[in-house]
């Protein structure tokens, strides 16, 4: 496989679906995926990443680190309901005063959770490769789906869903933070195509995984295709 098409995708749980798609498709030899959570915990990161990438000379390294924190704080209503900046949830007929958190503070929170120290380390392992950063998928709006596959939220579903506007605002702010980090490291930031969103900006139903926050294999295939296109565009 010519090196100029090779993409190494490194990340956490949001790369699983891409990895699964690559395995199922069997026709994506230009893509290698490393899930950092599945690396040998006893081995140093440097050695583990180098081992996982051995024999693969990437033209581009794409990071997709973390990305679920917007769901952690925003899938369910918090016991202390909060709003982000002046988010206009007062339009809700059941509106109750919320703890307003300034956007700059939430931005700082997302930055802490975006593995800012890991980003340059991972890019630096492959100094010749182009730098890409893939955004995380949008939140799942369908509370029936979350109820059916609650994962960590089991036992907490009584809190109900957080307001849609809050969830989208959190995702947008997280995206803004990832974009800024990408720019700081001269990486091209890749956002999802319109096709994976529903009309409100949430993850479209065909891409739901059997858990409350991740994209499924079809979503993974879309991401693989997106990465390939991105590299072609760059070339």
């Amino acid at each position: 496989m010519p090196r100029e098409r090779n993409i190494l995708l490194i990340g956490h749980s949001h790369v699983n679906c891409v990895q699964a798609a690559a395995r199922r498709d069997g026709n994506l030899p230009w893509l290698r995926v490393i899930n950092l959570r599945r690396l040998d915990a006893e081995t140093s990161l440097d050695r583990a990443v180098q081992a996982a990438a051995s024999g693969f000379d990437p033209a581009a390294v794409c990071l997709c680190l973390g990305g679920n924190f917007h769901n952690v704080v925003g899938t369910l209503e918090h016991p202390v309901p909060f709003s982000l900046g002046t988010m206009g949830i007062a339009g809700d007929p059941d509106y109750k005063p919320r703890h307003m958190i300034p956007r700059a503070l939430v931005r700082a929170l997302f930055r802490q959770r975006a593995y800012p120290d890991l980003v340059p380390r991972l890019y630096d392992f492959f100094p010749q490769a182009e730098r890409l950063m893939l955004n995380a998928p949008p939140p799942v709006a369908d509370f029936d789906h979350i109820r059916a596959f609650p994962g960590i939220h089991a036992g907490k579903l009584g809190l109900g869903p957080a307001p849609s506007e809050l969830r989208l605002s959190l995702y947008a702010l997280q995206t803004e933070v990832f974009r800024a980090i990408a720019e700081e490291h001269a990486a091209r930031f890749i956002t999802q195509p319109d096709a994976i969103f529903d009309s409100d900006g949430f993850l479209a139903k065909p891409y739901f995984n059997n858990d409350p926050t991740h994209g499924n294999q079809a979503y993974g295939l879309e991401m693989a295709s997106l990465l390939q296109t991105s590299l072609r565009c760059a070339a």
């Binding site: 749980s13 952690v72 300034p102 956007r103 960590i152 995984n209 409350p212 991740h214 294999q217």
Partner: protein
């Protein structure tokens, strides 16, 4: 032979102060008219030295009454970086007595300053002219600032309505004022946001009468809201960083501290249950020979702060066995937060990729 000083306590005689031979023993604190118990709700405000007071009383197990906390999703260190918990509410440093008086008026809605927002330091967003450093990164826009300010002033009001003890550290006499309505800014525009234009802001150096009047009016208002309120006044030992008066900063520092000390003294004499705690005297006394100042001769060293706060805790506080209980609601929030922290890990491992 008899004379007026005969039989007076040792503390009234310079040469009998144990701190002459051992600076660590310096103790100029008079018996206060009250004690502070573990459960008493303590509200602190004032110049930067007041931050030490808040931190120490909290660390010593006393009830620093914080009414404006960061939301539970914000980790403690990040909240601290955004000035939550530094004081009872997120008002930042209150340097002058006029600033305190106006903070109270703003909290109770009797004063709405004309100045609403300054442009952020980087040119993006806005900052609050009355606490320009409070929000790192500033506010997105005026609407966000206005919403946060409303939340903040409600917390200030709640702190004043619920407190048992008010500790105020007087810091400065020099201030920058909006000539339109007399609103006092803690920092000159241009220092931490806003733009300096000599026609938009005027300099004022409050004299002893003005500081006393502002301080007394503030304390009387607070006492009116909380009739059993115990008040502790201190003067910050931290010298002026800069003076706008055309003279040496050291000379300005002396007159400034003298005015603040006088105003505090007059308030103590004018009010019941109002006490002066001599933090200024401890740090600047000849006994400690300047050792409580850092290399810049301005910052108070940790050992100096320790000395001050050791004496404060010794004389003003009484440890009681009645720690505050954690309410059910608070416990639920903590449990939820712990679960969410674990969720960061778990959510990232639970994708099984099955339903494609």
């Amino acid at each position: 032979m008899s004379h007026p000083y005969y039989g007076l306590p040792d503390r009234q005689f310079w040469k009998k102060e144990p701190g002459i031979t051992d600076p660590a023993n310096l103790d100029p604190v008079a018996a206060p008219p009250f004690k502070i118990a573990s459960r008493d709700r303590i509200v602190t405000a004032g110049s930067c030295f007041a931050q030490h007071v808040a931190r120490y009383v909290e660390k010593a197990g006393f009830n620093h009454h914080v009414t404006e906390s960061a939301h539970p999703i914000i980790p403690k260190k990040l909240a601290e970086a955004h000035h939550y918990g530094m004081f009872s509410a997120r008002y930042g440093n209150v340097y002058t007595a006029r600033q305190l008086r106006q903070l109270i008026s703003r909290a109770y809605g009797t004063f709405v300053p004309a100045a609403q927002a300054w442009t952020g330091q980087s040119g993006a967003g806005v900052v609050d002219p009355f606490r320009p450093n409070i929000q790192p990164g500033g506010y997105t826009d005026l609407a966000e600032l206005t919403a946060d300010r409303a939340q903040h002033l409600a917390a200030v009001r709640r702190a004043f309505e619920e407190m048992d003890v008010f500790i105020f550290t007087l810091g400065l006499t020099e201030a920058w004022i909006d000539p339109r309505d007399g609103a006092v800014f803690p920092l000159a525009p241009g220092v931490a946001g806003g733009t300096y234009d000599a026609t938009d802001v005027s300099f004022q150096n409050f004299d002893e009468g003005e500081v006393f009047e502002d301080l007394l009016a503030s304390l009387r208002f607070l006492r009116m809201r909380r009739p059993k309120l115990r008040i502790v006044l201190t003067v910050s030992p931290v010298p002026l960083n800069a003076t706008f008066e055309d003279r040496h900063v050291l000379v300005s520092n002396t007159i400034s501290k003298a005015i603040l000390r006088l105003a505090a003294e007059k308030c103590v004499r004018s009010m019941q249950n109002c006490s002066y705690f001599p933090s200024f005297e401890i740090v600047t006394s000849p006994h400690v020979g300047g050792r409580y100042f850092a290399e810049d001769r301005r910052e108070v060293t940790p050992i100096g702060v320790d000395h001050v706060m050791r004496l404060f805790l010794k004389h003003y506080t009484i440890k009681t066995d009645d720690a505050l209980p954690t309410g059910d609601t608070q416990g639920e929030v903590i449990r939820h937060q712990e679960l969410m922290e674990r969720a960061v890990e778990v959510l990232c491992d639970e994708s099984a990729i099955e339903n494609a």
